[in-house]
Structures are given as C-alpha cells and as structure tokens.
Symmetry: C2
Subunit: 295 residues, 2 copies
C-alpha cells in the first residue's frame, strides 16, 4: 500500500520531470532525487528532496522509483548501466518509467527487472510541459495491472487520468499511436496553411471557417494560430518528436508494417533539424513545407 | 433584394443537392430544377419544383441559380456547354456553384459570366450529407463581397454559417485547405489504428486515451469508431475525396508548391480505388495501410 510514508525516488528533473517531482514533494512524500544536471534539481532539494549521486543510490533509498529522462540511450543507462537503478534496487520495488521510449526497451527493462523480482511500469504521458505544471497529464500505462492500480495515489498527484493499456511496453505503444496521429495532423495543418498563404487566403479566417468541421483538430486549434503569429517556441520540441517518430518507425518495421505517413513525417522533421530547428516547437514544420523544391 | 418572390434555379439533385433544394422549397421560394438524372428530382417536383429540360432553361426561369454537381467536367458543361447556364442567363443574374471544384474553373466561369454581366459566387460546403439534411452546412464563399452578402437569406436556409473568403475562386481554395487537413488527419488516424492492431492494443481504449490530447481530431472522434466496427459506409465517398485531392494537387503545382502529404494521400486513395472502394467512405483508407508491402 502506498501512503505518504512510501519513499519515492525521482530521476530526471528537466522541463517535465521537475514539476512532476515537485507535485510529489507537495503531496508530502519523502523524495530522493538524481539528475544528470544536478543544477536542475536544486529547487527540489531546497524544498526537501534528498540528493543522490547515482540512480543506484536513488533505488537504495526508495520504495518506488520514477524516471523522466530524455532519450532511449539515457534511459537504458539509468536502468541497466553501471550505478544504474537495477544495481541498487531490491526485490519488491516498483520502477516507473514516465519517459517516452521504445516499447522494445521497456520490455527489455521489464525482463531484466523481473529477474530481480522487481516490477516495472512504462507510463509515458501526453499533455506536455503545461500538463506537467498543472498536474493534468494523461498517462498511458503498461505492465502488471495490479501494480499500475496500486500506483494510483501517486499518479493522482501528477496526472488527470491513467489509461491502462496492457502488458509491459503497451504504454509506450499507445504513446507511439498518439504521435502517429499528431504527425498526420501536423502535416495536414501545415500543408493547408502553406497552400492558403500561396493562394492569398486570410489564414485567420480560414482556420475559423474549417475548424468546426471534419478538419477540426487540436493542432489547428492550438498550433495554427501560433504559426500565424510566427511563434515557433516549443510546446513540444522538434528533437523530441524526431526521437518519438524514429522509435515508432523502428517498431513498425519490427512488426512488419510500412507506414508511409510516418516515414514522410520523420523525413520532413529531420530536414527541419538540419536547418537549425531542433529546439523549436513542432509547428516549425511549416518552414520545411514552404520551401520544398518542386522536383 | 432577395425575398420569397425571387425565382430560384437548382441544378444537381444528388445526395447533397436534393436536401439543399428541398430546404429552399420549404422556405417558400419558387424553384426551377434540372438534374442529369431526372428521377432524382421527382420528389422535389412532387413538392412543387418546376422541371426544366436543360441548365439553360433553368437560367431562363430564374433570378438566382444554384448548382450542386459532382465533378469538374460536369460543372464546366453545366455552365459553359451547349444549353448551359450561361446560354440562358440574363444580365444581373447571380450564379452560385456550391459544388467542390477547381478554383481555376471557378475563376474561368466567373470571367465568362462577367462578359454577360452575370455575378458568380463559388460556395463549396463542408458538413456532408448530414449537414445538408439538417441545414447545418458550412459555406466557404468566393466572389463579390456584396453579392455574397445579398445571398445571405438563401444561405440561411441551407447552412449554419457562411465564411467570406475573398475573390472568385477563394471559396474553392478554402475548401481545398479543408481537405488538406482532412487528408493529414486521416493518414495519421489510420496509421495509428494499424499500428495499434499490430501491437495488440485495444483500439477502443486507445482512442479513449489519446483523444483528449494533442492527437484529438474530428477523424479520431467520428471515423475511428466506425473503423473499429468495420463500418465503411460513406459519410464522404472515396471517389469524391480523390477528385478533391486531385484538384488540390493541380492547384498546388500551378502555384509552384510541392505538398508531399497531399501527394501521399492521393496516391494511397487511388490505390484504394483500385481495390473497389470508390464508393466506400474515406475511412476505408485503413484497408490500404494494413497491407502495404514493406518494400
């Protein structure tokens, strides 16, 4: 049973991890924290979190360990590397990876953990930095059903809803499905705005005209207006979207699936990265589509 | 000034045109009607519409002529062909094409009409057959601003909202922009559902999990559930979507634009047609994506 005596470990204190860990602290749990960039953990330490020098040390100090880390190779190192979580973890602990990573890696960590009688849950989120700040994230969870259910008091502190998607890796698969829809809507919205500009339409009027119908989507409501005022700040960063689309494409190929829309999206976003937009918001895709050569 | 003494002509009484013309009749206007398939006009004639043997005859009998016809070559014939609308029309009349057709054709009709001192408005709609039945269409109108404004009493009878998009052809351009977004969301949603099925996810749970966030779109809300219950009835037919995407691609090329998402959508939908799905709903796209060869 989880209560506020449950010792929480938190690894990864970036733009998502820091506010999420902050909510856990605010709810009264004792927290041990580690971050690749110790400076990013200072505010949490000032609020009472206990600093640990390694992921293994976090595990030694905790009953439940959360990770919110950037890229798959970092996640692999945090769990399976030297001084990693599995080195410090003891039987019965629960390890919750809230990063978006490859379903295959999630399953690999799950299997390595099972040998030590550890439970793992893959629990990637949607909702972005705003959702993290407002404790309004949507969780897509994979792993043992009872384990996911037992974590509910902790998820309640950081998320609005938890969707149980099945066995280990299925949380990540669901997140990939989310990103596939986002990729398609982003291409559609950006191509629409490029066409509109070239045809001489008023983009603001256009959005107003088409958003109530079959073209209606989150991207049109939230990102098209930013494009119209040349606002390319992230929201969600290009380099993270490329990471996700790359994972999705590898998984699709592993499953024998060809997904041409996904391939196109990844290709376009990689071109966007090559023009210095790695840390722009995903809506910067329109820059690439404005300037594609006709042949 | 338009009032219920204004003589209305209506050409095209298919799944969209028939209910739209019916609303005009119900509002008390005298209506002259013509259709390529006279049988489809019978119910309107029984309700008091006057049958005309040709588009020219409709024009001779009317102050305002509406057209709601399938494909660009039919629209061209209806307006510019022998016994076409322009042959029968007199100076001062207003011609309103509510079909989705090429912006270039709309402008060509506009210019040919201007020589005879006729006003034209291109006024394609979104909202589909349900919107037509419920008088809840969204109109995207191009043409003279005052002419569009003067038509408001008639649009009020068939549509929920009229969006003035600018000069002749801009209504059609706006509709193309609508279809570009729809194409992107459709690819994204169908690829997501194909991936989900292959990964063993519960598609109903997946939709529930991702629809409140950045993946949210009309297609996910309205067509994904139909796909889940193997319902491929139209809504909006593949052959009409192919027509629209083909128009959009030609216009984009004319404007010097390369739109790879649009190209992909058109290619996939043409493959779908080759497997006998011309008259399925657009959500049938998933059939193609389930079975693409890996290379």
């Amino acid at each position: 049973m989880i209560d506020t005596n449950t010792k929480i470990g938190w690894i990864g204190t970036g733009v998502m991890g820091a506010p999420m860990c902050g909510h856990i602290l605010s709810a009264g749990y004792p927290v041990s924290v580690h971050s690749r960039s110790p400076g990013k953990a200072q505010a949490l330490i000032a609020r009472g979190a206990h600093w640990c020098a390694s992921p293994a040390d976090v595990a030694r100090a905790s009953d439940v360990v959360f990770t919110m880390v950037g890229f798959p190779d970092e996640i692999e190192a945090v769990y399976l590397g030297g001084q990693g979580v599995l080195e410090g973890a003891e039987a019965g602990m629960v390890l919750v990876d809230m990063s978006t990573t490859s379903p295959s890696l999630s399953r690999r960590i799950h299997e390595a953990a099972a040998i030590k009688a550890l439970e793992t849950v893959d629990a990637p989120v949607s909702g972005g930095d705003v959702g993290a700040k407002n404790a309004a994230l949507t969780v897509m969870a994979g792993g043992n059903r009872d384990t996911v259910a037992a974590l509910q008091p902790l998820f309640d502190v950081i998320a609005r809803v938890v969707n149980y998607m099945g066995a280990a890796g299925n949380g990540q698969h669901a997140k990939m499905c989310n990103q596939l829809v986002v990729a398609g809507t982003m291409i559609g919205v950006c191509e629409s705005l490029v066409y509109a500009a070239r045809a001489g339409l008023d983009a603001v009027k256009l959005i107003e005209a088409i958003r109530p119908g079959a073209a209606g989507c989150w991207t049109l409501d939230n990102l098209a207006p930013r494009i119209n005022r040349d606002d390319f700040e992230p929201g969600f960063m290009v380099e993270h979207f490329v990471k996700d689309l790359d994972i999705a494409l590898r998984e699709a190929l592993n499953m024998g699936l060809k997904l041409p829309g996904l391939e196109l999206a990844l290709d376009l976003y990689r071109r966007l990265q090559q023009t210095g937009h790695s840390r722009s918001g995903t809506q910067a895709l329109i820059h690439v589509l404005r300037s594609l050569p006709l042949e």
